[in-house]
């Protein structure tokens, strides 16, 4: 096991270098001079030049790369040109919003997608199967941001059931921040009004995000169940008179979950890609919304930080997934480097 983890860890530096280079490229090629933005609209050429020098933009690219990588290693992600605040601080204030939305959305997607896929796989070529597949293919075809807008229109503008799509809670009802997770903070402070308000605001965004992941989960679960169901040991178990429920649980589901776990990395990709769009639609003040605001302002540091943080998150989550997978499946652990 240790050997496996070490082998897996050895692949990380290469990816990290690639990510840092991409981040650096974003800095240096993004149009719009960040110094001009910082110095303000009416700054003279001389002031802009001085700002450029203070930001190190007049240095050759290799010096800039060295400074950039050095800062990065110290956790310095640069400054937001518009607010002048440190990007690292702004991100640390915003990430709980993204994580709260992502976790709830992901769990909701799992709750819908997994049973749907298993049902479709167990009843191949029946109504359930066709229905499940139709939902799954629709789920990967509909643009997330559009679905979110339709939900807003229907449940807010028409029915008036949902709160306006303006963030994590209605103004004035936010909980006192302890962890930054609104639901958790409301419970910790015993603030029922805040809990109700933040739960209501979370419903539509998390449903939208759940749609993004439910469809691929259902597809993967279906094909995994289909494959396992045809195995000889399942037929053997059934003919041995083992109750259907036990066969399903211990023989089929347990083995089908391994391929589902392998695809988890791809699902996380869907989740993170969908997240930024959902945050924009619902004005959710997380990292995706932050990247969006910065893109509109032509400000590079936050966009770059967003891509970096996302990449790091994916890298770490994939690492955890691989280790869990190897722990569950000894065949992986003992195999060579694999291909």
């Amino acid at each position: 096991m240790t050997a496996f983890v070490v082998r897996r860890l050895a692949t990380i530096p290469l990816v990290l270098v690639a990510i840092i280079l991409l981040g650096f490229l974003i800095t240096n090629v993004l149009p719009g001079n960040p110094a001009e933005l910082r110095a303000g609209q009416y700054a003279s050429a001389e002031v802009i030049e001085r700002t450029e020098a203070s930001m190190g933009l007049d240095q050759p690219w290799y010096t800039q790369l060295r400074v950039y990588a050095g800062n990065l290693l110290q956790g310095d992600l640069g400054e937001n040109a518009l607010t002048g605040l440190s990007v690292a601080d702004e991100i640390s204030a915003r990430w709980p919003a993204t994580v709260e939305l992502s976790v709830v959305g992901f769990l909701l997607g799992l709750l819908v997608g997994l049973p749907l896929g298993v049902l479709a796989g167990m009843r191949e070529n029946t109504f359930w199967d066709h229905g499940g597949r139709l939902i799954a293919v629709l789920g990967v075809s509909l643009p997330v941001f559009w679905v979110g807008l339709l939900l807003v229109y229907f449940f807010y503008s028409e029915l008036g059931w949902a709160p306006p799509p303006t963030g994590r809670a209605q103004i004035g009802t936010e909980p006192t921040e302890i962890t930054g997770f609104y639901m958790l903070d409301s419970v910790l402070t015993g603030d029922m009004a805040a809990l109700w308000s933040s739960a209501k605001s979370l419903v539509l965004p998390s449903i939208t995000l759940a749609l993004v992941v439910a469809a691929p989960i259902a597809r993967i679960a279906r094909s995994a169940v289909l494959e396992v169901r045809g195995r000889e040991y399942v037929t053997m178990a059934i003919t041995s008179g083992i109750p259907a429920r036990v066969v399903l649980r211990s023989y089929i589901l347990r083995n089908a979950m391994l391929p589902v776990l392998t695809m988890m990395g791809i699902l996380l990709g869907y989740l993170i890609g969908g997240n930024i769009l959902v945050e924009i639609v619902f004005a959710w003040p997380g990292l995706g919304g932050y990247a969006f605001e910065s893109i509109s302002n032509n400000d590079f540091a936050p966009v770059q930080a967003f891509v970096l943080i996302t990449a790091l998150a994916i890298l770490l989550l994939n690492l955890v997934l691989d280790v869990v997978y190897a722990w569950l499946n000894p065949r992986v652990r003992y195999a060579g480097t694999g291909d």
Partner: protein, 297 residues
């Protein structure tokens, strides 16, 4: 598609064109869903081609009095905030989005298939390095990758095309490389080499026709992703900018109006994205089922 059966020697010939078409059509008819997909895609392509000729408004003619009219006889899809006719804008956007999707997919197919063929055929260290790079890129969600690259290249349609091409090429490299690896030691390749065929000839005329099926499936699915990602990028504000007609931009323009009840501005362009992507996905899934009966999805 006779060339799919393993071991058969592909003999491309112009005279066989009609026969091939008849066979492809027959194969396609085996799957209802892929026919539905084909019909959806066909409708949108037709709409993009002749729609702008039939609609009496241009995508950017409008007047202040005609602002935000609900769908009606004059404007079947209504008008937007500038008084532009949404139907005509949706049609103009169909041209743009399909153009981007086909260019991106074509480029990714061309580059990815070439690299994949070489990587799979040559093998060894080169293959190892290429596949390591491909796996690295694929561990990253393609949308975020495209977002990062497009943001780095600057706000233009060209950067969107480059970014999406970079994001999709690894998928083609992997598909084509896997198939090439499985074919390169087969007898028909050996026969061609013994007969004195050069490496480019072996790759292009003998191996590629045999790996083209899976590459086509990938291309069909990629067309759908490209539509979805182009729209999403412009929705975020990268690439196409208003007032240019593009589906994602149009949905974004309607986003603020949805809250006040003007649903049609966002609904119709989004619907066209959904129909087109659904069409490509159904077609791609159907093609895969036909070409790969063992792994029916």
């Amino acid at each position: 598609m006779a060339s799919i059966s393993p071991g058969s020697i592909a003999a491309p010939s112009a005279g066989l064109g009609r026969e091939r078409f008849r066979q492809s059509w027959w194969t396609l008819r085996q799957s209802t869903l892929s026919l539905v997909g084909l019909a959806l895609v066909g409708t949108v392509v037709l709409f993009a081609l002749i729609g702008p000729l039939l609609i009496p408004y241009g995508p950017e003619d409008g007047s202040a009095e005609a602002r935000l009219l609900a769908p009606g006889l004059d404007h079947p899809f209504g008008t937007d905030n500038f008084g532009f006719d949404i139907l005509s804008r949706v049609a103009a956007a169909a041209r743009l989005d399909l153009f981007v999707a086909f260019v991106v997919t074509g480029l990714a197919l061309l580059i990815g298939a070439s690299i994949g063929l070489i990587s799979g055929y040559v093998g060894g260290r080169l293959d190892g390095v290429i596949m390591r790079a491909v796996d690295t890129i694929l561990s990253f969600p393609s949308f975020i990758l495209a977002l990062g690259i497009a943001a780095a290249l600057g706000n233009s349609l060209r950067s969107v095309i480059i970014a999406l091409t970079v994001a999709y090429t690894p998928f083609f490299i992997r598909v084509v490389r896997t198939e090439t690896l499985a074919r390169r030691d087969q007898d028909f390749v050996l026969a061609a080499r013994c007969a004195g065929a050069s490496t480019p000839r072996v790759l292009g005329l003998h191996i590629f026709p045999n790996v083209a099926g899976p590459a086509m499936v990938q291309a069909t699915l990629t067309l759908g992703w490209a539509i979805l990602d182009t729209a999403a990028l412009s929705f975020i504000g990268i690439g196409v900018r208003p007032p240019e007609a593009e589906w994602g931009v149009m949905v974004a323009e309607g986003a603020k109006l949805v809250v006040t009840g003007e649903w049609w501005v966002s609904l119709f362009p989004g619907l066209f994205i959904a129909i087109t992507v659904l069409g490509f996905n159904l077609l791609g899934d159907g093609l895969r089922d036909i070409l790969d009966p063992e792994r029916r999805s």
